[in-house]
């Protein structure tokens, strides 16, 4: 396959960047998208040029490290997969592919396609945990968890924190990420004690980071590689409003 790539290049510590055009030949349809970028980077290094910086780690869709806005879609055209699981057979020979970093005020570009997602870490620090006393490992069945609660908590906990929800949202809102984390813990018995404090603190932290507001386009759900449902945003809205009535 022959492809034309238009890739955002931005040097470190430089707020300005541009799109650079790269023509790549002999791309195998069996390559993953990131492997295709690896091949291009090898060529660039051979030519003595700066390789393209992009985030990646496990390359099996579970770490949440890879990103990329591919032809205007977060993680590319496939539903329910991260960029690392996207394959070149999804593209046509001779196609032009535009590759951009996640765009949000809360996700500043570090270099090229790499953005700083530590805003998510600060939101988790604000309340995305349960406090437990240290000591011996408790017996597994000490706290019974109803099956539906376990299922729902697991669905929310599938979030890998990649930030595709923010990237795909027309308002750069982080509601799906925060909702997944709030819902995961609010559904389990272990999370009940800090339930109200958690949702209030995490939403406050989210707002402080400068993310946008949810206007219910549900683009986040379509882009999410773990297909987290927007019902968790409903749940977070409900938890927040209930908590505000209890402690206004």
């Amino acid at each position: 396959m022959r492809l034309t790539l238009k890739i955002w290049r931005q040097a470190q510590d430089n707020p300005k960047g541009t799109f650079e055009r790269y023509d790549v030949d002999d791309v195998s349809p069996d390559m993953s998208f990131l492997e295709m970028l690896d091949i291009l980077n090898e060529r660039l290094m051979h030519e003595g040029k700066e390789p393209i910086a992009f985030d990646h780690d496990c390359r099996e869709g579970i770490c949440g490290m890879c990103s990329l806005m591919i032809n205007g879609q977060a993680h590319g055209p496939d539903r329910g997969v991260a960029t690392c699981q996207l394959h070149m057979r999804r593209f046509k020979d001779g196609e032009t592919i535009v590759i951009e970093p996640w765009r949000a005020k809360a996700f500043p570009v570090i270099k090229d396609l790499v953005v700083d997602r530590s805003a998510f870490d600060r939101i988790i620090q604000a309340g995305g945990y349960v406090s437990v006393s240290t000591g011996g490992v408790p017996e597994g069945n000490t706290i019974p968890v109803p099956k539906p609660a376990a299922e729902q908590a697991m669905d929310a906990a599938a979030c890998i924190g990649c930030g595709a929800c923010v990237a795909a949202c027309p308002n750069a809102s982080a509601m799906l990420f925060v909702a997944a984390k709030v819902s995961h813990l609010a559904t389990l018995p272990q999370g009940q004690v800090e339930k109200d404090q958690r949702v209030l603190r995490m939403v406050e932290a989210m707002d402080q980071e400068g993310f946008g507001n949810c206007t219910n386009h549900y683009e986040c759900m379509a882009a999410c590689p773990k297909q987290i449902h927007v019902k968790f945003i409903t749940l977070m809205n409900r938890e927040y409003l209930k908590a505000s009535i209890k402690q206004p």
Partner: protein, 224 residues
């Protein structure tokens, strides 16, 4: 730790609650207006009855005005924050899930506001057409029936009303289910249902309101 109406979720709840108050008004106003098909006596008697409930009427007006102001003010704040949240846009951005009505909420909202101002100037304050203020029925009361028909006989005015109602339809078809989502009253099964109910309701409201100018222009409803 305290909740705040200025938080993202607080503001969305305000939008939803005020939106639902305004929707309740839109529905009750439509039901009253449809009395035009029952003839001048029915419509004028209804209008008179409303005037006799003055304290309640003024209370409702105050509530509606407050809802409009809060809805507007919050939408301006939210839109500003949303714009600031993505200072550098994408070269290519292909949303796949959202609807046209959802993406044009600001446009339909601005159109609706312009329509609302015109509507109040015309039928409430009689500024655009002062002659409408002095119509009286055989009982000596304000003749709402004649006022509506005289105004809608002008195809331009009828056209403005149909366009205004199209904007309302577009606004509501996203706003309805969105309100429930923002207030935390939704789930996986309810979501597609609320979306369909919202679309059906907004279409029904559009057809209900538009039927009046259309019926006047076609001569189905005329002066007696």
């Amino acid at each position: 730790m305290h909740a705040s109406p200025q938080s993202s979720i607080g503001q969305k709840a305000l939008m939803a609650a005020t939106g639902l108050i305004l929707l309740a008004f839109v529905i009750s106003h439509l039901l009253g207006n449809l009395l035009v098909f029952a003839g001048p006596e029915a419509l004028n008697a209804y209008a008179l009855k409303l005037r006799h409930m003055a304290p309640l009427l003024w209370l409702a007006r105050a509530l509606l005005l407050l809802a409009v102001v809060v809805h507007l003010w919050t939408s301006i704040r939210l839109s500003r924050q949303n714009r600031l949240a993505r200072p550098v846009g994408y070269r290519r951005f292909r949303p796949g899930e959202t609807s046209l009505s959802a993406r044009t909420m600001l446009l339909s909202g601005v159109l609706l506001l312009a329509y609302l101002v015109y509507h109040l100037l015309q039928f409430t304050f009689h500024t655009t057409d002062p002659a409408l203020a002095h119509l009286t029925d055989p009982l000596g009361n304000h003749d709402v029936y004649a006022m509506v028909i005289t105004a809608f006989r002008n195809p331009w005015i009828s056209c403005i009303y149909v366009v205004g109602m199209a904007a309302l339809c577009a606004h509501l078809s996203h706003g309805f289910d969105s309100s429930f989502q923002s207030l935390g009253v939704n789930n996986e099964r309810l979501l597609p249902l609320l979306q369909r109910v919202g679309q059906a309701l907004s279409l029904a409201i559009f057809m209900g309101y538009s039927s009046i100018p259309v019926a006047v222009l076609l001569g189905i409803v005329k002066l007696r």
